[in-house]
Amino acid sequence: MTNTLHRFGDAESFRDDIVVICVPSRGRNDENIVPKLRKFLEMAMKYKPVNLGDARHGGVHRPSKHLNPLSHWKRDFKPDFDAVIAGFDTATTAAAVFDNIEAAEAFVTDVRKADLGVSVNISTSIEGALKCCQAAGLPRHSAGYSLGFEGKTEHLPSADVLTLSTMCGHGMVSTSLAKKMIDWVREGRRTPEQACTYMSRFCSCGIFNPARARRILEDSRGKNQ
């Protein structure tokens, strides 16, 4: 799963986008792993993440299979962090998404002290990850560089759309939906908060960053199409 690696944007655009993931390795440290992964998520709560991820069940914004028709007027846009932690029941990737480097640094320092014995990765700008490592007193073990998108890039949409849709690396946030949300915010049909929540519900492992999405949507309001 390279789900967070190839997010689109320059280094500056990742200032509010730091994803810390805890990844069990099949056959090596996946026995009795669920309590450790749940602890990882619980520890993150102290630093006010903007999303929590369970690769099997989703993040803090989830779709409903039995939506009340009245929800068109009274939809609940609040994130449900407790549901992610309580529902974590599988040996899969856990993720905590932060919108500021200070919180990520403090969290990584705590994770080191907790000694969970599970691989932990920081997905953000190279510079941001280095800051987290320095704060925690850890040298980098390995780095997986993103070299960006190449090949027939004429198939790709605009930068704003790409920035939003690549926050779900599995491609569950379609470029058409991202474009539609940008348009709806520009037209005043929805607030940036509402628009980013709609997109976040499609991200099935909870690594979409609603805070960064909101900033991009707010910034796009003043731009020409």
Partner: protein, 283 residues
């Protein structure tokens, strides 16, 4: 994926959420339909849309009245009002589409969700990429373009011809009928995927050669490629070898996934180390 025409009210919400743009409203029958050639069975529509269970007849009548009065009802954009999506039972080889496209489905070959690989994310426990080596994840179809297996085949052949070692625990490798030549099973070549990853590792001295091979294949296939490069850092946490090569090739290294080395082998029984695959020569 199937959209039940008895339930669909042609609201059009699903046409925007399909990552492949495979859903359209058929003007003749006034119902949404799935272009099965383009659909990659990612289930974004079924899993991502919230569902109401409204009466389709009532919804259609309401929509007709609003249309006649030129009124716009502004419904939630992530809702299927009549729960019209019905997953079909997939058989081989179409089931391959879902395995590579629906991130909630773990790959049988690796047990890993998403694209089925651990790459360097668990390098601290697997030792997959060692000092002196470079790992490549060559991903096709991402973001939002998709890829046909026959296009991946082209890259597999090219890399095999160069004598590279395909990662064993990788879903694409598991679909090769001949790893020596990089030949995939013929019965899957007409399947379209959201994305898939070829994973290899080579000595660092071959980094530039592999990148140039990828560039060559990119010219021949009609999709996008996202290259990931895995490096083992030294004791100081620095990669002094691979990053300079990539920068020399013109890449501006901005983003990375950084493994901070906290993982341990804690299972009671650990997997037996597999011997390295022999370096293959040309077909």
């Amino acid at each position: 994926m199937y959209i039940n025409p008895d339930k669909c009210v042609a609201c059009g919400n699903c046409t925007y959420v399909c990552p492949m743009g495979a859903i359209y409203v058929d003007p003749l029958i006034k119902r949404a339909k799935v272009n099965l050639d383009e659909c990659v069975e990612c289930y974004a529509c079924y899993n991502g849309l919230s569902q109401e269970h409204l009466n389709p007849t009532l919804v259609r009548a309401t929509r007709r009245i609003f249309q006649a009065l030129r009124l716009r009802f502004d419904p939630e954009p992530d809702v299927c009002p009549t729960a019209a999506f019905e997953p079909e039972e997939l058989t081989w080889p179409r089931v391959v589409r879902r395995a590579f496209s629906d991130p909630r489905v773990p790959h049988e070959s690796t047990g890993v969700e998403g694209r089925g690989t651990e790459e360097v994310k668990t390098n601290d426990v697997t030792g997959r990429v060692k000092a002196g080596e470079v790992g490549f994840t060559i991903e096709f179809g991402r973001p939002g373009v998709g890829v046909w297996m026959r296009e991946i085949q082209d890259m597999c052949w090219t890399l095999a011809k160069a004598g590279v070692d395909f990662e064993t625990r990788n879903p694409i490798t598991s679909l090769m009928k001949d790893r020596a030549t990089g030949t995939l099973r013929e019965d899957i070549l007409k399947e379209k995927l959201m994305s898939a990853i070829i994973e290899i590792k080579v000595p660092i001295s071959r980094t530039e050669e592999i990148v140039r091979l990828v560039w060559e294949v990119e010219k021949r296939i009609d999709t996008v490629v996202a290259l990931g490069v895995g490096a083992r850092c030294d004791a100081d946490g620095v990669d002094r070898e691979i990053a300079p090569i990539l920068e020399k090739l013109g890449y501006d290294l901005v983003r990375a996934k950084t493994n901070i080395g906290l993982g341990k082998n804690t299972n009671a029984v650990l997997p037996v180390e597999q011997p390295a695959q022999p370096q293959l020569v040309s077909r």
